[in-house]
């Protein structure tokens, strides 16, 4: 057994189609093979100086070794096989074309490619794409096409068979650069976005929808606005403040302005509200799934409709865990197993069909 030659040919042909399409849309390929739209931005866990030094290390070290040497805390985020389990919901067929919006270091782009798709990995941050270019070369994943663009302004009508928006929707309204360490929970003056956050997210999803062929599938993953753990002491995963996700938006905005000096824009959604947003954006239907313990390293992904009875204890042994962790797990088990409180599941995966 092995990859049938016809599948390989279909994948290569889809990748060539992607390249041609980018050229026709005004992207220019640079010396690293990255297609550039001219729109630039910055969102990274590493600040710019760290990224500069890290990219230099890639001349000497293989990508995984470089991460392990400089930033071992991100090795799992980039390389863990757990990261791309939600792609199973998409039933990717060999030779399909997929777009990973806000791909960053490419954890899911690589998973899409390994499943046999030609992948457009798109991000605003050039440094992240340079890392991914090294990884693509190192692992021989030559059907991943890299493009730098503002993903909010990347019209590529009817290009994709499927798309992935993984932990990205909540950042769409963010105006300006984000060096996460200097930003997360820190005071940073920011102007209010030009439009209401929800409207910006809607416009983005409309474009994602238009960029797909009829019948195309979108996988969108995001934290649940009403994640139960925020009610037992966990902070807002984006603002690092208490309860801002849960509170009415104007109130969250006041708190964010007072505590961080910037508007609250990282809007999350409940299960029904996210489905409504997707339908409003032009998708014909959307299936929702609950992710435990979160969407980044999911142990369980269960259908929102009729799936909560499949909830089982998950994750590593609690023998060495802190009492806080044990209490949180006990709370989750009670809420999900006995109270069937699916509305408060930690994260959402949505599969929406154009």
């Amino acid at each position: 057994m092995g990859e049938p030659p016809a599948n390989q040919a279909a994948r290569n042909s889809a990748a060539r189609g992607l390249v041609e399409r980018l050229r026709r849309s005004g992207y220019r390929e640079d010396e690293r093979g990255i297609f550039r739209s001219g729109q630039e931005g910055y969102w990274s866990n590493l600040d710019k100086e760290e990224n500069r030094r890290f990219l230099e290390s890639l001349d000497r070290l293989a990508p995984r070794e470089a991460i392990r040497t400089s930033y071992p805390q991100y090795e799992g985020i980039i390389f863990s096989p757990k990261r791309d389990a939600a792609l199973e919901l998409l039933d990717i067929k060999p030779g399909e074309t997929g777009v990973d919006y806000g791909c960053m270091w490419g954890a899911l782009s690589v998973g899409m490619s390994r499943r046999g798709a030609a992948v457009l990995a798109m991000d605003q941050t050039y440094e992240s794409l340079v890392f991914l270019a090294h990884r693509v070369k190192d692992e021989g994943l030559d059907d991943i096409v890299l493009a730098q663009s503002d993903i909010r302004q990347a019209p590529l009508e009817e290009l994709a068979d499927f798309a992935v928006v993984n932990g990205v929707l909540e950042w769409i309204p963010e105006a300006g650069e984000v060096e996460l360490k200097k930003f997360f929970g820190k005071k940073a003056g920011r102007a209010a976005p030009r439009r209401a956050p929800e409207e910006m997210q809607l416009r983005f999803l409309e474009q994602v929808c238009r960029n797909m062929k009829a019948g195309g599938r979108l996988l969108l993953t995001i934290e649940n606005r009403y994640d139960y753990s925020q009610f037992i002491g966990k902070r807002d995963p984006h603002a690092n403040l208490w309860l801002t996700s849960v509170l009415p938006r104007p109130l969250a905005n006041l708190i964010s302005q007072a505590a961080l000096g910037r508007p609250y824009v990282n809007y999350l959604y409940s299960f029904p509200a996210l489905k409504n947003l997707l339908l409003k954006a032009g998708f014909s239907r959307a299936e929702l799934y609950m992710c435990f313990p979160d969407y980044r390293f999911p142990e369980l992904i269960l259908p929102y409709e009729g799936g909560i009875s499949g909830y089982v204890p998950h994750g590593p042994s609690l023998a060495q865990a802190s009492w806080r962790r044990k209490a949180a797990v006990a709370f989750e088990r009670m809420a999900m197993r006995w109270l069937k409180a699916r509305f408060f599941a930690p994260s959402i995966a949505a599969v929406a069909i154009r």
Binding site: E3, P4, K82, E88, G116
Partner: protein
């Protein structure tokens, strides 16, 4: 069709396990997949294992492999209805399941591998990998299947000793009834020709030695996550347990 991801790279594996569900949420089949080299190797071994297993079954387990991409492999396995014993409850609470499991091992291995020096190995016959429906038993999770690997009896003994581990772990003394159950299991294997003579003098120690002689069967998982709990017993403890298993009941 809806899906549910029910296991994601559990115990250090590189395998995602999904359920295919119909609209009412009923499970139609299990889909196991991997994009990692070791995971793909394990899934291919599982496919081969089911093929070997099915040759001995009147009602074979339906299995379908898809190898459509360069670094992705998918195995779809019929969803087997039945009860899955709770392995954490240990040996005595699962006495009937263990006896069914040992008899099933003999039914599958004896006709083809009696007294074999190099028998096929399932590699993970644990209570967690038995599906019991009435008196019918099915073995699942053939990811570590290895042909012609270890003296016959390995998997049967492993089932007994892993269940004993969850009964007593590292601190409790085994109850006489637990030791009697182990002795009965060993006798069943021996009578069916499914216990190679090399295990006879010290079955637990020989089982542990067998694992150490073929670590390749479990790959990196063996190091990564202490996959096989019986390896946590010290050699002293192993010798003591072997002595008590061998001793006639009135000597204890």
């Amino acid at each position: 069709m809806k899906k549910a991801v029910i296991r994601n790279c559990l115990h250090g594996s590189e395998i995602v396990v999904c359920r295919n569900l119909d609209d009412s949420g009923r499970c139609l089949s299990l889909v196991k997949s991997s994009t990692g080299a070791e995971g793909i190797r394990n899934l291919k071994a599982e496919f081969e294992g089911y093929h070997w297993y099915n040759e001995a079954l009147k009602a074979p387990v339906s299995v379908r492999a898809s190898d459509l991409s360069r670094s992705y492999f998918q195995l779809e396995v019929e969803f087997l209805l039945g009860r899955k014993p709770d392995y954490l409850q240990g040996l005595l609470a699962n006495a009937d399941a263990i006896e069914f499991g040992i008899r099933h091992y003999c039914d599958i291995w004896a006709p083809r591998q009696a007294q074999a020096d190099r028998a096929c190995v399932h590699g993970d016959i644990s209570l967690d990998n038995l599906i019991i429906s009435g008196e019918q038993v099915r073995l699942i999770d053939w990811e570590h299947f290895t042909p012609d690997a270890l003296p016959v009896g390995f998997d049967g003994l492993y089932l007994l000793f892993e269940s004993l581990w969850f009964e007593i772990e590292d601190m409790r003394d085994p109850a006489p009834a637990a030791l009697a159950l182990i002795r009965r299991g060993i006798a069943t294997l021996r009578d069916a020709g499914c216990l190679h003579p090399s295990y006879a003098d010290a079955p637990l120690r020989r089982t542990v030695e067998a694992i150490h002689s073929r670590p390749d069967i479990w790959g990196e998982q063996l190091q990564r996550c202490h996959k096989l709990p019986i390896l946590k017993w010290s050699s002293q403890r192993i010798a003591e347990l072997d002595r008590r298993i061998a001793a006639p009941p009135h000597d204890q």
